[in-house]
């Protein structure tokens, strides 16, 4: 089985379930934020006080303890020339783009409006889980990453370890919170609230193997339609987090959406980190010895 994690499926034996995840196809996101609302309602995530940010239609701005889904809005002024007076080839390309499902483009006014619903990635190599000293963060039988709220003591290590800036400590509560991929619903064979609420199926929930195949086909469709900057994000096992349970089809580079282009689980460097700490400890011992024995009393 591919996309195996340290604890899944190995430690679950017969109780292991197929690894579940999200395929977020941002090319059909319409920015309705139904996912944000459904998530807040189902998971009883507290209200987050929001001001008007002026950042397009985004007043949430980032994932955090009180926002487990976040819809990003990017307004790009790009040279778009398939409007009035365009050549036949350009018009044909536009037709192909629309046939490919790229209806979110507002090409007439030269604006490309990107929308994307972001979420915890449920990494194959999850830094938050690796560094958690209490074991509050754990890998479920579905291969997802969940915080046990009755164990977390709010040390904050996961917050600094996450290369995506997803998890955070909740004000007034003290514990770390993030998307659970609706662990409770999964146990009842229901799909997560956000995926169920999504009216365009931009958020697709299912077995990772099925979703990944679907994503490859969708990328092929978009590439054929001339969307050369379309890309799959976090689909491959050779990236810095071993691929993710929640992966994305983006229409531009990840950093445009506020996602890191090359996220790496800090555990990849843990060997050199422990080696350096060990060498420094030895050096400290040598230094102490030199100070005490290397001169007069």
């Amino acid at each position: 089985m591919s996309f195996e994690t340290i604890a899944w499926p190995g430690s679950y034996g017969d109780e292991a379930k197929p690894r579940k995840g999200f395929f977020t196809d941002t090319s059909v996101c319409i920015g309705c934020k139904a996912c944000q609302v459904a998530c807040k309602e189902w998971n009883q995530v507290p209200m987050s006080l929001q001001a008007f940010t002026g950042k397009s239609y985004d007043n949430t701005t980032q994932l955090g303890a009180d926002n487990w889904r976040h819809v990003a809005f990017i307004e790009q002024k790009l040279p778009v020339d398939a409007g009035e007076g365009a050549s036949l080839v350009q018009a044909a390309e536009r037709g192909a783009a629309l046939n490919g499902g790229l209806a979110t483009y507002q090409e007439g006014d030269g604006l490309r409006w990107l929308m994307a619903s972001d979420v915890c990635k449920h990494c194959t190599d999850a830094a938050c889980l690796d560094v958690c000293p209490t074991g509050a963060l754990f890998r479920t039988e579905f291969g997802t990453v969940v915080v046990q709220q009755d164990v977390c003591n709010g040390c904050g290590y996961c917050v600094s370890a996450c290369p995506f800036g997803v998890i955070d400590r909740r004000e007034g509560d003290g514990r770390a919170w993030k998307c659970t991929l609706c662990y409770d619903r999964l146990k009842d064979e229901q799909e997560p609230a956000c995926a169920q609420a999504c009216p365009t199926n931009s958020i697709q929930f299912g077995d990772l193997t099925v979703l990944r195949e679907r994503a490859e086909h969708r990328l092929g469709q978009l590439q054929r339609a001339g969307q050369e900057s379309a890309q799959l994000y976090l689909t491959d096992e050779d990236d810095g987090v071993g691929g993710a349970g929640a992966f994305f089809l983006l229409l531009d580079d990840p950093e445009v959406y506020g996602l890191p282009p090359d996220p790496v689980d800090t555990r990849r460097d843990l060997g050199s980190i422990w080696a350096a700490a060990g060498a420094a400890a030895v050096a400290l011992g040598v230094g102490l010895g030199a100070a005490v024995f290397g001169g007069g009393r």
Partner: protein, 323 residues
């Protein structure tokens, strides 16, 4: 515009408050003092050894207070010992701190009262040995994060923290020990202070553009203060520490201020590094372009024949026509 999302940070700033850099200071002081105490005892300098044990006990006594105070749920501090987890320097450190605390307490009580002589014979070397990783694991802890300025300095940061620990152990011992018995403490303080200044320079150089938080804002201010205090304290300790107790105390205060400022410098630099997306995007993108890393996104589909019905359910079966 294109290299960040409305200028929003990608990473979360650390949740850690003032207790954490303060613990890095006291933990290092406790760890290195135990080593100084044990070795001084071996050399027969019991005057220095007893004081260093007392410093170690005091510093390790306040350390858990700082750590627990920083927790979001303080009553659950014992969950830190729920498991031993090598991938979590915080878990490893919790066990080191626990072991150090217990052994140092026995050694220090024995040094001052003579109680538990047999237990202390085992506890002294154990405390000294555990004190070494206690002084450096804190650097591993913050290096093992996604915060660029911490993570990218992972090979040198433990040496900075180790030398900082040694300097505080030497400085505090030199302050409360009669100068005639404090020569090893003075050597330790001055030597470690100069090493710390030197290694930090190398670390800043190695970090390159990622080290910018050390040249701006609070990271820079505490860095400059640390170097000034270290150099001034070293000079004073060298010139007058052996002759004058007040001079040794003044030098010790300066050196401790230098070590504490150095912890604050790395602490604040981490916040600056996490807050600005340019420290995340720029270096990651550069590594992808140099071919050192594959990156996390791919533009080519792995399927050769694209089937419309395999695409997104929302779009695949729908036939759209251009208006």
């Amino acid at each position: 515009m294109s290299d960040s999302y409305h200028g929003q940070p990608i990473l979360k700033e650390p949740t850690w408050t003032w207790e954490i850099p303060t613990y890095f200071f006291t933990g290092g002081m406790a760890g290195a003092s135990a080593g100084l105490a044990y070795l001084s005892g071996l050399r027969g300098n019991d005057v220095l050894a007893r004081r260093a044990w007392a410093i170690s006990l005091g510093a390790i006594g306040v350390s858990p207070v700082f750590l627990i105070s920083d927790l979001g749920r303080r009553a659950r501090f014992l969950n830190m010992l729920r498991m031993f987890k090598i991938t979590s320097p915080m878990s490893v450190g919790s066990w080191i701190l626990s072991g150090s605390g217990a052994t140092t307490a026995v050694a220090a009580v024995n040094a001052w009262t003579g109680l538990f002589p047999r237990l202390a014979r085992e506890a002294r070397p154990a405390a000294a040995l555990l004190g070494l990783p206690l002084s450096t694991y804190t650097a591993a802890l913050i290096a093992n994060t996604a915060v660029p300025v911490w993570h990218e300095s992972r090979r040198l940061l433990p040496f900075v923290y180790g030398s900082g620990a040694a300097l505080t152990a030497g400085a505090t011992a030199a302050m409360i020990t009669p100068p005639a018995y404090a020569a090893p403490a003075r050597r330790l303080a001055v030597g470690a202070a100069l090493v710390e200044v030197g290694i930090k320079e190398v670390m800043h150089h190695q970090l390159g553009a990622q080290g910018e938080p050390y040249t701006q804002g609070a990271g820079a201010r505490f860095g400059h203060l640390s170097r000034a205090c270290n150099l001034a304290g070293s000079a004073l300790m060298l010139r007058a520490g052996a002759r004058s107790r007040p001079a040794a105390i003044a030098a010790g205060v300066l050196l401790c201020a230098g070590a504490l400022s150095a912890r604050w410098s790395t602490y604040r630099a981490g916040f600056q590094s996490a807050a600005d997306p340019k420290y995340v995007v720029g270096p990651q993108r550069a590594k992808i372009e140099r071919g050192e890393r594959p990156g996390a996104s791919r533009r080519r589909s792995r399927v050769s024949v694209v089937r419309a019905d395999k695409g997104s359910p929302a779009t695949a079966p729908v036939e759209l026509s251009a208006p």
